[in-house]
């Protein structure tokens, strides 16, 4: 089992941001149209995180024109370009499937202000590191947060 875990680590992304159930995220996903490739952004609430290791997937729900839309993203797929957390949610269960029954105001998730302010601070610190780069550590800092 260990050898398989090691092998999976080789193919897994190491620079994923810290997110959890109930967070609002912007997921950038590469889409192929004929020969061209473009990035599509899907913004919504994380309602489920499933699978371990390289099989981990993210289910994101949003309301488009009054209709609920859910997309499942394989976290470690090369097609998933970026995940950005825009708002942290405070929830008390690991799967938010109850949101499917809700409409209008009921679909909102309580915001976790403490977490959001912590993240904002971290982002600012990272930005500072980019603005005043130490010659050796700067490239790493940009790669990890951008």
């Amino acid at each position: 089992m260990n050898a398989i875990r090691q092998l999976e680590l080789d193919h897994m992304k190491k620079d994923l941001p810290d997110f959890s159930i109930g967070d609002t995220v912007k997921v950038s996903y590469k889409i192929r149209e004929g020969q061209k490739e473009r990035v599509q952004v899907f913004q919504g609430t994380i309602i489920s995180i499933k699978g371990g290791g390289i099989r981990r997937t993210l289910k994101v729900r949003r309301i488009v024109q009054g209709e609920g839309v859910e997309r499942t993203f394989p976290l470690h797929s090369p097609k998933l370009a970026e995940i950005e957390v825009t708002r942290s949610g405070k929830v008390r269960r690991s799967k938010l499937y109850y949101l499917r029954q809700r409409v209008g105001k009921g679909t909102r998730v309580r915001q976790d202000f403490a977490k959001d302010s912590r993240r904002a601070q971290a982002n600012q610190a990272a930005k500072k590191a980019v603005q005043a780069p130490a010659p050796t550590s700067a490239p790493e800092a940009t790669g990890a947060d951008e």
Binding site: A3, I4, K30, I54, P78
Partner: protein, 242 residues
């Protein structure tokens, strides 16, 4: 150049291709294998010093020499997964020692690879996953998982009988076997029936070799292979590939 290698099934996982396609793979720990013996068709292909055997004909006649017999076919005998000396069997440990294995060890898994002509490998040589790097398709042989005594539905993919509409305690039975009357021969031989299922030697042909990890001695083979995890496998170059 080897035509195959011995290995151990570690389990399954998935990897992503560059375009995002998910590839289900079986991870196989393969090699390094020791070449225990090279079998040859004719006597004159053996090294000079191995062609004669000494025979003890008893007290009066003493020792004489006779020609050894060749194996009659070409093959390479590989050993995989060293067994420590305290558990090794003496005859096999002696055989392994001839191939240069030190410390009285032998191997848990020993198999032959048949060749058309004289193999280029030498006794005592090593076969590693690096030798398979150019292969695209492989045949994988293993022992399937045991299912014990299984009914016809699991064993032969028979259909189930209705669960309702008057069916009485006959939902997973095999149904008729034919031959109600007018034949003395009874049920034909080989009629598919319930019985022991699994623990069979099975070869799956033309599996794609997705990747070779030389550092960790791993092969990534697309799809499933026979047997449980930690089961031994023989991986050969696909005989039907061109």
């Amino acid at each position: 150049m080897t035509i195959g290698i011995l290995g151990k099934k570690l389990g399954m996982t998935q990897i992503f291709k560059e375009d995002g396609e998910v590839v289900p793979v079986t991870v196989v720990q393969a090699g390094p294998c020791r070449v225990l013996q090279v079998k040859v068709k004719d006597l004159d292909e053996l090294p000079e010093e191995h062609r004669k055997a000494s025979v003890n004909k008893g007290k009066k006649k003493g020792k004489t020499e006779r020609n050894r017999r060749a194996d009659g076919y070409y093959a390479v005998q590989l050993g995989f997964d060293e067994r420590p000396a305290k558990n090794a069997k003496k005859p096999t440990a002696g055989h392994a020692a001839k191939a240069g294995v030190e410390g009285g060890k032998d191997f848990y898994y020993v198999r032959e690879m048949r060749y058309e002509s004289k193999p280029e490998l030498e006794t005592g040589g090593q076969v590693t996953v690096g030798d398979l790097e150019e292969l695209k398709l492989v045949d994988v042989t293993g022992i399937t998982k045991g299912r014990g005594w299984a009914g016809t539905i699991k064993r032969w993919n028979f259909a189930r009988q209705p669960m309702s509409h008057g069916t009485k305690k006959c939902h997973r039975h095999m149904g008729g076997t034919g031959r109600t009357y007018s034949t003395a021969k009874g049920i034909p031989k080989g009629k598919k029936m319930m019985g022991h299922y699994g623990v069979d030697r099975v070869t799956i042909q033309n599996l794609e070799l997705v990747a070779v990890d030389k550092e960790r001695n791993l092969l990534l083979i697309r799809g499933a292979v026979p047997g449980h995890n930690q089961g031994y496998l023989t991986i050969r170059k696909a005989i039907k590939s061109r």
